[in-house]
Symmetry: C2
């Protein structure tokens, strides 16, 4: 079928978006035809703007349009707390919830023996450098508890313990709590979560 | 939170796509950051191309980049068959499946008393004009069997019956079969489908 080329091209482009297959890409494309020209132009410009303006903060790797991200340049935040996360999305989520007022460090990779990603393929060196030069008092590991996440957390933990020993520093290392989320039916939870909830149980009396 | 403006703008734009809420829009936006610059530029250009190049065929309302769509300009197709559909997507689906080789007519609206869309707010006049001037022998109604779809089908049927009477023509009016689709568990089907399947049952012996 000699389908209009511009539509075929757009459908193929939409399939690059995460979780978008043929059907959804087609649905988006037909919707674009019906959209106001102004709105489509705005979307096209936003795409180019993001690609041209967004950089990664040299201190923490969070996204920014400036030389430094708004979190790193905020003097009112707690400078002694550093939360280590695995992606930009985690920072966005924590910031939206307004549950934390320290600084962040975004890892670019998790250690993954299966994918041949060792510590050298990550930016953990930069993390350690950030911790020591900024005089961080507590490092909070907020990485998901998968095999890769746990391997990465353990590696960072070990490095920090060595630093504590060799420099007589006392950097606190903590991990966000894993366990049963609130308002969720127990039966729908995965076994790892339940296992962790038992392991990390708290004495209440 | 002082989130980079370009990302906020892109997330809002993505929310214009059908079925895309805040979470999916964010997911798309972060993915754009990680995509190759070339691919993002291609997507932006495809969006503009679709908006600038796609027109509706003056004969059948299907999409085209030319003066006439590829179906209307195809001399090898059956010129005496006209399939009436409610949207461009239906044409694409039928064409992909390669189950029909006649012409199409895409309605711009279905008659809907609830939404105050009467026959005058549709392009049914153009449809009738198409049928009479092109000497169509059979009109196949392929509109979904909702209240609006049935009202529209019945209205077209009535008009064609009147034309048959007043001009002594004998245009055949047919409707694609509704019923139980193949390979589907009966229990998941809606009651209207099952009702239609009983109503339109075929004698087999």
């Amino acid at each position: 079928m000699k389908f209009p080329e511009s539509i075929v091209s757009l459908i193929n482009d939409f399939k690059h978006l995460p979780g978008i297959g043929e059907k959804s890409a087609e649905r988006f494309a037909y919707h674009i035809i019906d959209m106001d020209k102004e709105d489509v132009e705005h979307l096209a410009q936003s795409l180019l703007d993001v690609k041209n303006k967004i950089k990664f903060c040299p201190k923490c790797n969070f996204i920014t349009e400036d030389d430094e991200c708004y979190i790193c340049s905020d003097k009112t935040r707690n400078n002694e707390l550093l939360c280590v996360v695995e992606d930009v999305k985690s920072v966005v989520m924590f910031e939206k919830l307004n549950v934390y007022d320290g600084k962040y460090f975004v890892l670019n990779n998790l250690i993954s023996p299966f994918d041949k990603i060792g510590p050298d393929e990550t930016n953990i060196d930069d993390l350690i450098n950030n911790i020591t030069t900024n005089n961080i008092k507590e490092v909070i590991l907020a990485i998901k508890p998968t095999i890769e996440g746990e391997a990465t957390s353990m590696y960072i933990e070990k490095l920090l313990e060595e630093i504590n020993k060799s420099t007589n520093k006392n950097i606190v290392i903590s991990k966000i709590a894993h366990g049963i989320p609130l308002g969720v039916e127990m039966e729908y939870l995965d076994s790892l979560t339940i296992e962790l909830a038992f392991k990390d149980r708290k004495k209440i009396s």
